[in-house]
Symmetry: C2
């Protein structure tokens, strides 16, 4: 060891050079930013499985290249560049011109902007974080981490944690169903649940009938699966048109139907319970599966939860999807599906594409649901959402110009606004973003871009800042509607509530 | 209200009848099992949005049907059936005859059996729960829940939590890479990461070249995506044959290649670093993406972590996948991918199919990685795994009959055993299960079922019970190998280590 042979020496030179090059690259890319301490010689030697002297030589080289500097008693730090050109600025996080970007990028921008506290959040349909039971669910999570031991870190294979499935099954009575725990499969959120259903019943190229307008996330899912969307006219109060759907089915090989039957996003519509039954019977005659997204079903403003289509399902064709992302926590990533007769396929696909849902999160949710605190929390949340929806609607009526229409949702989080025909909602989106307000332009709710003069507003939060934002939007709309008032809207039923004048 | 009209009365009768029917169904299905307390009259009234008297009438009817009983000062309970036929027994959890079930069911059975403490766990390739840093990661999780507030329950949109991506990027130096945090995307586990890569680069019907044998989970993923697997011969020490791969590419429209380059599952092979470079260069010439699953890369037994193919990637064609499921916690569901030039597609697909990975889990992992405890933990884990692998190998050599061969993995969790040709591993699987031992039969590692006389043994744990199980397996193999010794195996290189005789 004291007298290494030539080949050993060359090996060491190669190794320290390699290490120095790699670290220089990490520094250049910003993985270790200026001012950051890099691992100690000892740590690096252990991590890399090379000798202390190899690391020392590499660090010396980086020092001589002025990339790092030693600070006495502290370690090695990435040097701040001096005299060197400054790094390029970070890419701007706001889209410069939404017309120039794809629908995909626009949608991702809207979702990402939802984490930006500097913007007034009228864009993504996210729950109001102040109304989520975070303290309680955190307590359940801490309990689970402490008491579950190994079990809290194992895979919980599909169909998922039994205790949670039992709690969901018990609540199914509220929806008009009587599910058994064995009919329920836990997923990593509601979006994954819909993804699994599409995997189970469709193949690339198939036609799926959807409501129009439709939540953009679902349309993107159809695109990922290579499916074709058939947009069915949808009433802003009563949901999907059964006549139009029957006609579509008679003339197209529709492989599946996808609805948000309660508090539709973006329309706010709720299919009346008798009409739900008629929808289920129509599809049963043709043996067509119905993927029912009921993710907002608990957020009703009235006295009673509306039923789900699944309540009328005799043939196991309804795949009921929901999640805890709208009413407990989006970040836990837990949803569920009752896939009816497609259960074996859905279970196998869940197992194959993502193994299992997070373990401790399932345990915490089961405890929270069992504790009974969930219903108390939901009652409070519903009252607040009903109030915020009312306040937002009033503000739109106050500040937007004549000719504007808006929906009257009986639950959920979103308001759908029809602007004067001459107003382009993408232009409004861009102008609003420049003014610190994010919203969802109508373009993203239809593959055929049928809603250029509509916007969806998130109604989960309302305060002084929201009011000022709506006032600003009203001004922008008025400015864009240069022919304001001279262009009366047709009297169709595309949106339910007319501005009271 | 005191003198309800006839229609109101009928409405109430319909409502209580409906409620009673639904509850009876939930009881019949076992959602509320015998002895279980059902919600109080007050709770039920609030949940269902019906009056107290409606609930009382429904409960009275259920009582008269002997489905529930009132217990003074306590509430209503589901009655235990008396005189009625007992419920049918639960379906057996063990497969009666694996020959009769599909490969899908067999695989799900192997994975589910991994949670059965009554079985000796030689089946699923799961980490040894006693070697996971559960106390530390739980502490990080509790810290995150306490300090993150709302942020711990929001969506963390793709590419995922920056602090975690920074930690992963810093560790990439150990793999021979120099990734920037912006090149990394956090996923809900490694399986999802591979799913996203396949989504991004393949379409149904495409050909994907894979190692043979190949981890069954990956083969199932190909099936879900409608892809065709082209199995490439793979050396038990040095991994995929480049000659065979080059030939396959020359004669087939191969859309992507999928490898586990380090500590292959099930083979234990590791592609030497120079050969990794040759593999990357071969695919670069043809512009074929390589999906590299490096989920066990940290579990090396030697002095130094082997590099990844990604280290040699000049064209952004390598999609490097890993996760924290093998070395920290399977239950957290956090993995990652560095998708190279396919990053925009992979990010969009992640966003679309499952929105985001769990928030608090990402925060806890970032803290754990930053704390420096990770390397200490990994060193301990590697020592234990190396020891367990050695002990399991010795036990197989001791108890299995002559003619058996086994691999010498330089890392990872699994041992691949070639049995005498006359032994059918499905038959062995069945007999072992009856004896309380689970293992993975060779059939599930090839779409073409090329490995009927191989088994994969999980080497993550070794104790007295494991030793007795291997002894029992040896007896079973001897019994099945009726022509034991009379059928010398050919001298090919399909498995590296011959039983020392």
């Amino acid at each position: 060891m004291n007298l290494p042979g030539e080949s050993q020496q060359i090996g060491r030179i190669l190794r320290y050079q390699e290490l120095a090059d790699r670290l220089a690259e990490l520094i250049r890319k910003g993985t270790y930013p200026p001012g950051q301490r890099i691992p100690s010689v000892r740590q690096m030697s252990q991590q890399q499985g090379v000798s202390i002297s190899t690391v020392l030589q590499a660090y010396l080289q980086l020092e001589s290249l002025q990339l790092i500097e030693a600070r006495p008693q502290s370690g090695y730090y990435v040097r701040r560049p001096s005299g060197q050109p400054l790094p390029e600025p970070e890419m701007s996080s706001h889209v410069a011109d939404p017309r120039l970007v794809s629908l995909q990028e626009l949608i991702m921008q809207i979702m990402r902007d939802s984490s930006d506290p500097s913007l007034v959040q009228l864009g993504a349909a996210l729950p109001n974080p102040h109304l989520l039971p975070l303290e309680k669910i955190n307590r359940c999570l801490v309990n689970a981490a402490r008491s579950a031991g190994e079990a809290g870190h194992r895979y919980i294979w599909p169909p998922g944690l039994e205790e949670l499935r039992v709690q969901i099954a018990r609540r199914s009575a509220n929806m008009g169903c009587s599910l058994s725990p064995n009919e329920i499969l836990i997923t990593s959120g509601g979006t994954e649940a819909i993804d699994l259903c599409l995997h189970a019943v469709c193949h690339a190229g198939d036609i799926v009938a959807i409501e129009s307008p439709m939540y953009f996330g679902t349309m993107q899912l159809l695109e990922v699966h290579g499916l074709r969307a058939l947009e069915i006219p949808t009433h802003p109060k009563e949901g999907i048109s059964l006549e139009a759907l029957a006609f579509a089915i008679a003339h197209n090989p529709v492989r599946a139907v996808l609805t948000i039957s309660n508090f539709n996003n973006p329309l706010g519509s709720t299919i009346p319970d008798e009409k739900k039954q008629a929808l289920v019977e129509l599809l049963a005659r043709e043996d067509i599966p119905l993927i029912e997204n009921d993710v907002s079903g608990e957020l009703y403003f009235g006295d009673r939860r509306p039923q789900v289509c699944k309540a009328f399902d005799q043939k196991g064709l309804v795949m009921l999807v929901s999640s805890f992302s709208k009413d407990i926590s989006p970040g836990l990533r837990v949803g569920w599906v009752a896939p009816g007769r497609f259960q074996p396929q859905v279970e196998w696909i869940k197992f194959t594409v993502s193994s299992s849902a997070p373990a401790l999160a399932q345990m915490a949710l089961a405890e929270f649901l069992q504790s009974g605190g969930y219903d108390y929390h939901l009652r409070r949340m519903r009252r607040e959402y009903a109030r915020n929806m009312e306040l937002l609607s009033e503000a739109v009526m106050r500040y937007f110009p004549g000719g504007v229409r808006l929906t009257r949702p009986a639950g959920g989080l979103v308001l759908w606004v029809q602007l004067p025909e001459r107003v382009d909602s993408l232009e409004l989106y861009r102008a609003a973003l420049a003014a610190g307000i994010t919203l969802a332009p109508g373009h993203v709710f239809s593959a055929a871009q049928r809603f250029p003069n509509f916007v969806r507003l998130n109604a989960s939060e309302f305060n002084y800042r929201t009011e000022r934002a709506v006032e600003k939007l009203g001004e922008l709309v008025k400015g864009m509607d240069k022919l304001n008032g001279s262009n009366p809207l047709d009297e169709g039923w595309s949106v339910g509530r007319r501005r009271e004048e």
